[in-house]
């Protein structure tokens, strides 16, 4: 974990409302593991004082990129950022996704900026499996080609049917899982190892399936954060323990948890 007072290298529209912000990060860049995030101090945020967390989309010695959509005070204040502007980042934060288990079939499930959070995982994975991406409409589904180029079988699902299956991501995932033999105790389903990043209902839906059908699902949890480093205890979720539960900090102990660890509220 490092703090870098650095500069914007690139900033442009990506797709739909999504934008890509790339920042120089000679110290942080080389440390990044898939599923980790940055804590960004947005300049000119007026009288707002907290940083905002962003999943790391790409990272190397040349810099770190994030993919975001302006939805609130922080992300909207990012729009005018231009190359050369000063930014302040802390990262890489969190534990990220674990390595793919032996003989496991990797499945990526994402929605919104979740696709960004999974890109490094998709790249690193020794086996390329299936990627289920959900969105409201075709333009909300990010980076399809990038994942295809890496060798993933991308299966989009859109609420309006403008791309792939019509419906939620589960509308694409469930029939596929049935084919593998879900509910029939077949080997296929237990071999699945899911890496999921997206809105809470998607995380929960995938977590529930993992528990029901006995496969592994790593869920990247989204909780508001203040410090981002484990100090303030803002971002806690309930984690199952042998004799009950404990608070786990999303920023430090997560953001990735296995579905069985999580007690949903």
């Amino acid at each position: 974990m490092k703090q870098e007072k650095t500069t914007v290298v690139e900033h442009h529209n990506f797709q739909g409302d999504y934008r890509i912000l790339r920042m120089a990060a000679p110290e942080i860049g080389p440390l990044v593991k898939p599923g980790q995030f940055l804590h960004l101090l947005i300049p000119h945020l007026g009288d707002r004082i907290l940083r905002r967390p962003f999943s790391i989309y790409k990272a190397d010695t040349g810099g770190v990129s994030i993919l975001y959509k302006p939805v609130g005070r922080g992300t909207e204040s990012m729009i005018p950022l231009r190359p050369g502007d000063a930014v302040d980042i802390i990262g890489p934060l969190g534990n990220g996704f674990p390595a793919l288990g032996n003989n496991k079939l990797p499945v990526l499930v994402a929605g919104g900026y979740g696709n960004a959070a999974l890109y490094l995982k998709a790249k690193e994975s020794p086996v390329k499996g299936v990627a289920f991406f959900g969105g409201r409409t075709a333009e909300d589904i990010l980076c399809i080609e990038e994942f295809q180029v890496l060798g993933w079988d991308v299966r989009p699902a859109t609420d309006d049917g403008s791309l792939g299956t019509k419906g939620l991501v589960t509308a694409a995932f469930d029939p596929w899982m049935q084919e593998l033999g879900a509910g029939s105790g077949a080997q296929g389903v237990e071999k699945l190892e899911l890496f999921v990043c997206g809105p809470n209902p998607m995380l929960k839906a995938m977590g529930d399936r993992a528990i029901k059908h006995g496969f592994t699902a790593w869920l990247s949890m989204d909780k508001n954060m203040a410090c981002g480093v484990g100090a303030c205890l803002t971002c806690v979720i309930k984690r199952r323990t042998t004799n009950g539960w404990e608070w786990a900090r999303c920023c430090k102990d997560g953001p990735v948890f296995e579905s069985r660890e999580i007690i949903w509220e």
Partner: protein, 319 residues
């Protein structure tokens, strides 16, 4: 300009560095800057980003007698110029602190101030009994003002009688410096400062976050699960400065000042108002380099103004 009759420094002698050390009872801080309890975890959380040995002291998150789960989430909320928190003092308890964090803290060459709290009078005594043999524990900050636990806590901070009794109780259990942390939501902070002195405290710290609230106008729910919380950050600094100034008039005890310190100038303002030491709180979340920047900035200021010691500026406000 040199006064005419001063002896010029011998050529090439290094410029005199101002003395930065301050004392809080029997505890010496190498400089007057610590961190505010609850904003810096227990030490390890910021160790990658902040050189802990540079701090005047590490003040850890509030410790109760036993493990405590704290409040449900959301626990914090950003406001204009500040933030609300209602963390609710989750933590490993006194023994848990010894097991989990003392081994990490012990090797550092920096005093550790343990912030302690209790649901009732006895709890405060228990925490101290468990912790007091630990050499790593240098002093106790007694949280008598947490706005976020229903039981006791803040009530002790707004009634001088129970306030004094907690301090006397703790005083009876330890030789280490004890530093009651005063509640800001009182009409007469001087009375509490005086009560702390009379009850055997070694110093006081001012201020805790201010009881406050925010409501979501779409859901009609409070933004914090605990409904109310404490306001901290730049917004409250002018309130904290006045409380420190008022308290300094009422007591000779050293004061640890805090509330919205973001820049060295803020820390210096607290010291001029009467604080012997200062704590950086919410600013750690915004920029973990604040503590180092504040220490350097105080030193620069002392040099620039020609002071030989940080003590020279404490309470110098012309008011």
């Amino acid at each position: 300009m040199e006064p005419e009759n001063s002896t010029p420094p011998p050529p090439n002698s290094p410029p005199k560095q101002p003395a930065m050390a301050v004392r809080i009872g029997s505890m010496t801080m190498r400089n007057p800057v610590t961190v505010a309890s609850g904003t810096f975890g227990y030490g390890p959380e910021y160790a990658d980003l902040v050189d802990l040995n540079r701090l005047g002291a590490i003040t850890v998150k509030g410790i109760g007698p036993e493990e405590h789960i704290g409040n449900p989430t959301p626990r914090t909320f950003e406001t204009r110029g500040g933030m609300l928190n209602a963390i609710g003092l989750p933590g490993p308890g006194a023994q848990g602190f010894i097991d989990k964090y003392v081994p990490f803290l012990a090797p550092y060459n920096v005093p550790v101030i343990v912030n302690i709290w209790g649901k009732n009078m006895d709890d405060y005594g228990k925490v101290v009994e468990i912790l007091d043999d630990e050499e790593t524990v240098s002093a106790y900050e007694i949280n008598l003002s947490c706005p976020n636990v229903k039981e006791g806590g803040s009530a002790f901070g707004t009634d001088t009688d129970s306030f004094s009794r907690v301090i006397e109780l703790v005083r009876g259990k330890t030789q280490k410096p004890i530093i009651p942390k005063l509640a800001p939501n009182v009409s007469d902070i001087g009375a509490f400062a005086k009560a702390a002195e009379d009850s055997g405290a070694d110093a006081i710290s001012i201020m805790n976050s201010y009881p406050a609230m925010a409501i979501n106008i779409d859901t009609l729910e409070p933004e914090l699960a605990n409904r109310t919380g404490g306001l901290s950050g730049p917004a409250i600094k002018p309130i904290a400065i006045k409380l420190v100034w008022d308290a300094a008039k009422a007591t000779k005890l050293p004061i640890i000042g805090m509330g919205g310190i973001y820049e060295p100038e803020d820390a210096i303002e607290f010291m001029i108002a009467g604080a012997t030491a200062v704590a950086v709180g919410t600013a750690n979340f915004t920029d973990p380099s604040t503590v180092a920047r504040v220490i350097d900035g105080i030193e620069d200021y002392l040099e620039q103004k020609g002071h030989s010691s940080v003590a020279d500026i404490v309470g110098t406000v012309k008011a």
